[in-house]
């Protein structure tokens, strides 16, 4: 288990907030306590015993969307503030403090294996072909908020002739880990690894970057060896297009879209070209870039499930981000949290798989 780097955290706490212009929480909420340095200061003071571990101060260390915006300007080698704050939240939980707003979601996770509550059993159709090489991992947020995007990826796989299967998956463990319950996260991971092993699949594809990141980064830390390769869903679909197994056609009535780079893809994975190549494969469609795009992207408000921890804060961040997009066209993204986060003020937001489904399958059918 990683440990808090107290020296780096103190360096950050002593810095005059030189990265605050890139902290979406700071800029949207306008409160000194949730500036990058503010968060580090409260973390340091609680760790030093100068302040009690109370909800009031712990809330500051929950006020991070994990977008790595601060890191783009940070001079302290090795400092990942979001990661340090995650570890501080684990310590807060050990001290008996978890943010009240996330408690219902943690309860759901314990009871149902999803932060959003019970999940309907998979339909026979969605279960796909038992023993298929490709396993589609939907992710709780997709299932709860936008099942249409799951439908879309299944339709695209059908269209491309890719045999797939789905299992009665559990949450990947991401929220439990974010919110200070690593034991729960590890249990969920263990259940998933068992399901994956039983499935016989050799490749897992997911359109949820947070699930993807958890599999890649946390499962090894939790000593949960994945029995299959984890693949970014957008990249998988792009391969199918490149191979000619998917043939996008013009989408009637749609000439321009903007693309929102999710932080996980653009900052953690530094993967920005894949969705652009996929969009470029759709005839007659022009991509208009946001004012801050690619690795310079900014958070949608949904990073680190901030919608659940702080709905009002998340909306304020989303409004700020929306102002960076060209008007009069849909925003396309490939993250269920970004889609959900940006859907304020009547913005039209859709997932890339939904657009690709329209281009390859026409309408919404398979």
């Amino acid at each position: 288990m990683a440990e808090i780097d107290r020296k780096l955290l103190l360096d950050c706490a002593l810095c005059p907030n030189m990265c605050r212009c890139e902290c979406p929480v700071d800029q949207a909420l306008g409160k000194e306590a949730v500036s990058p340095t503010g968060k580090a200061r409260f973390a340091h003071m609680m760790l030093e015993g100068q302040l009690p571990w109370s909800e009031e101060f712990v809330e500051a260390v929950y006020s991070c969307v994990g977008c790595k915006g601060c890191e783009t300007l940070c001079p302290f080698e090795g400092l990942e503030l979001a990661e340090e704050l995650r570890l501080v939240r684990l310590e807060a939980a050990r001290q008996g403090v978890t943010l009240n707003s996330v408690q219902p979601y943690l309860s759901n996770l314990k009871k149902y294996g999803s932060p959003y509550g019970s999940r309907a059993p998979l339909s026979e159709e969605a279960r796909g072909s038992k023993g298929a090489e490709v396993l589609v991992f939907a992710g709780c947020t997709t299932v709860a908020n936008n099942p249409a995007s799951l439908e879309a990826i299944l339709a695209l796989l059908d269209r491309a002739g890719v045999s797939y299967q789905m299992v009665e998956e559990y949450c990947c463990g991401y929220p439990a880990d974010l919110w200070g319950d690593p034991e729960l996260a590890r249990q969920l991971a263990k259940e998933n690894v068992r399901l994956f092993a039983d499935s016989g699949a050799r490749k897992l594809i997911t359109n949820c970057p947070e699930c993807w990141l958890t599999f890649k980064r946390r499962y090894p830390e939790w000593e949960q060896e994945l029995p299959l390769e984890v693949v970014d869903g957008t990249a998988f679909l792009l391969e199918l297009v490149r191979e000619g197994r998917l043939k996008p056609a013009k989408v009637e009535g749609l000439e321009k879209v903007a693309y929102h780079d999710p932080c996980v893809w653009a900052r953690y994975e530094e993967r920005t070209e894949v969705p652009r190549e996929l969009l470029a494969s759709i005839p007659g469609l022009k991509l208009e870039e946001a004012a801050a795009a690619g690795k310079a992207t900014r958070c949608c408000g949904g990073g680190q499930m901030f919608q659940l921890a702080s709905p009002a804060g998340s909306e304020a961040i989303a409004r700020r981000r929306l102002a960076e997009f060209p008007a009069g066209m849909p925003i396309v993204t490939d993250c269920p949290f970004c889609r959900e986060g940006l859907k304020v003020e009547g913005a039209e937001v859709l997932e890339l798989v939904e657009l690709l489904q329209r281009a390859c399958c026409g309408g919404s059918g398979r």
Binding site: K7, L10, D11, C12, A13, L14, C15, P16, N17, M18, C19, R20, C21, E22, Q27, G30, K31, E32, A33, S35, G38, R41, F42, M45, E48, G49, Q50, L51, P52, E56, F57, E59, A60, L73, P75, F76, A291
Partner: protein
């Protein structure tokens, strides 16, 4: 509630009942979300980035806590908050991004911290007249980003640009690193809107110049929240520079470098960046530049219209060669550019127990070198000082800003050591005939030398303060306009 955090220079504060009642009244103006009495917000806004605050933070101390924090969203809300505070005689400390370095944002007498962060709108971009009107809480880097997206630059790049606000620049009379080309904030500002303690809103003319009596709005430049709250600013902007040229030269002596930059400025050249480093800073910043070993580095960045840039490059080259400057190429300029916002050493040194600061003063050319020599000697004579170095970074036809960096390990109490080296620096500066401040403002600490700096003028400033703020509610204890009871030399 605040655990073991100790507020060590607090002069007064409210009872919890009083602050709760005040918060209820303020909520009627700004809404429930716009007010807080939570300790988390009180601790977050109890200080700025005065380097001594870092030392105190490590020691588990804070300077002074506000009782209530308020986040107004408009000029009308600021006016209503100030009216209420004035009526009841409650102290108000304006707070931008808290990036000041002299304790100006410390709420010595508790009361209200008025945080301007939610007032961050761009109100008007006037392309024809090259002006922009913004609210004071707008972050500096985002202000420049907005202008760049529209093909302009604001020309104001203090080292704090990423962590400071437009209002803060104006309130402390700031200067940016490209100030020789674009001017200091007082050259860039066109007009201000501000709210006086009684709620009166004043506005300056958004005109290039007027001859219609003293400009009341411009009185707020450098007032550091002691007269009221700046609520809107109209600033000059420039087309994004067409061309940039980078030059650097190493000189055998600091005096030779000073001669070159004096001649450039007096000939009418305006390189955006002029930085002349002493031996220690040259060795520290440019160890990879062989020609600079044992010499003093001059870094120049010239930008703007290409015809003008060519002429300025020629002028600088000729004058540098006249003083036997060794051409070091573009690399030192790139190095400066890459490192210009990196202040990480400060955190690391404080974490390791050091006490440090930077002190910028203003000298005329005829004593620019003497001031450096005397301040450096005085600082090195203070027991515990390990380093006292300097560079010149803002220049004029009449003189230059000298920027000293001091780092040491206190032989005893860190705060006492801090006070000792500041006193040594200020005394040497004043004895050498320089002005004690160039662009960091006065805040709490440098304000202690206002009498020596301003003489009789201080009495007039106090009378102006008395006229505008008769109850003394605005940022009390700063700029030596009143005595800070618990903070003396």
């Amino acid at each position: 509630m605040s655990g073991s955090v100790e507020a060590i220079i607090q002069e007064s504060s409210m009872s919890p009942e009083e602050s709760a009642a005040l918060a209820r009244d303020l909520a009627k103006i700004v809404g429930e979300e716009g007010v807080s009495t939570k300790m988390v917000d009180r601790l977050a806004t109890c200080r700025d980035f005065w380097p001594l605050m870092g030392v105190w933070f490590v020691e588990g101390k804070v300077p002074a806590l506000p009782d209530v924090i308020v986040w107004p969203k408009s000029t009308a809300e600021v006016a209503a908050v100030l009216s209420l505070a004035n009526e009841r005689g409650i102290p108000v400390t304006p707070f931008g991004k808290g990036s000041g370095v002299l304790g100006g944002a410390i709420p010595l007498r508790g009361g209200i911290v008025l945080d301007t962060k939610l007032m961050k709108r761009v109100k008007e971009l006037d392309r024809e007249n090259l002006m922009i009107t913004v609210e004071p809480g707008l972050n500096g880097a985002l202000y420049e980003e907005y202008l760049n997206r529209h093909g302009f630059t604001g020309g104001h790049f203090p080292q704090s640009v990423r962590c400071s606000s437009v209002g803060g620049w104006l309130a402390c009379r700031a200067a940016g690193q490209l100030s020789n080309r674009y001017g200091k904030i007082e050259d860039i500002v066109v007009a201000l809107e501000a709210v006086l303690p009684d709620g009166t809103v004043i506005r300056g003319p958004k005109k290039p110049r007027t001859s219609t009596g003293p400009r009341i709005d411009l009185l707020f430049l450098g007032s550091e929240g002691t007269l009221g709250v700046i609520t809107e600013a109209t600033l000059s902007i420039w087309p994004y520079p067409e061309q940039k040229a980078k030059l650097s030269y190493a000189f055998d002596s600091l005096e030779q470098g000073l001669t070159v930059i004096r001649k450039i400025m007096q000939a009418g050249g305006r390189p955006a960046v002029v930085r002349l480093y002493d031996l220690d800073e040259t060795a520290g910043h440019f160890p990879e530049t062989r020609e600079a070993e044992g010499r003093c580095m001059l870094v120049l960045l010239i930008e703007g219209d290409s015809t003008l840039v060519s002429a300025e490059v020629k002028l600088a080259q000729e004058l540098a060669l006249e003083e036997k400057g060794l051409d070091c190429g573009e690399a030192p300029v790139d190095h400066w550019d890459e490192r210009r916002y990196n202040v990480s050493l400060s955190s690391k040194m404080i974490r390791q127990g050091a006490v440090l600061d930077t002190i910028e003063v203003t000298a005329n050319w005829d004593n620019a070198f003497t001031v450096y020599k005397n301040m450096r000697e005085a600082l090195l004579n203070v027991e515990g000082t390990a380093l006292a170095s300097g560079h010149y970074s803002h220049v004029y036809p009449e003189g230059a800003c000298l920027y000293m960096t001091i780092c040491g390990f206190a032989p005893g109490d860190k705060t006492e050591y801090y006070k000792r080296f500041w006193s040594a620096a200020m005394e040497a500066c004043l004895a050498s005939g320089a002005s004690i401040g160039h662009h960091h403002g006065l805040g709490l600490h440098r304000g202690l030398w206002m009498e020596e700096e301003q003489g009789e003028n201080l009495k007039i400033l106090r009378r102006i303060k008395q006229a505008l703020d008769p109850k003394g509610i605005m940022n009390p204890g700063k700029l030596s306009l009143e005595v800070a009871e618990k903070w003396q030399k």
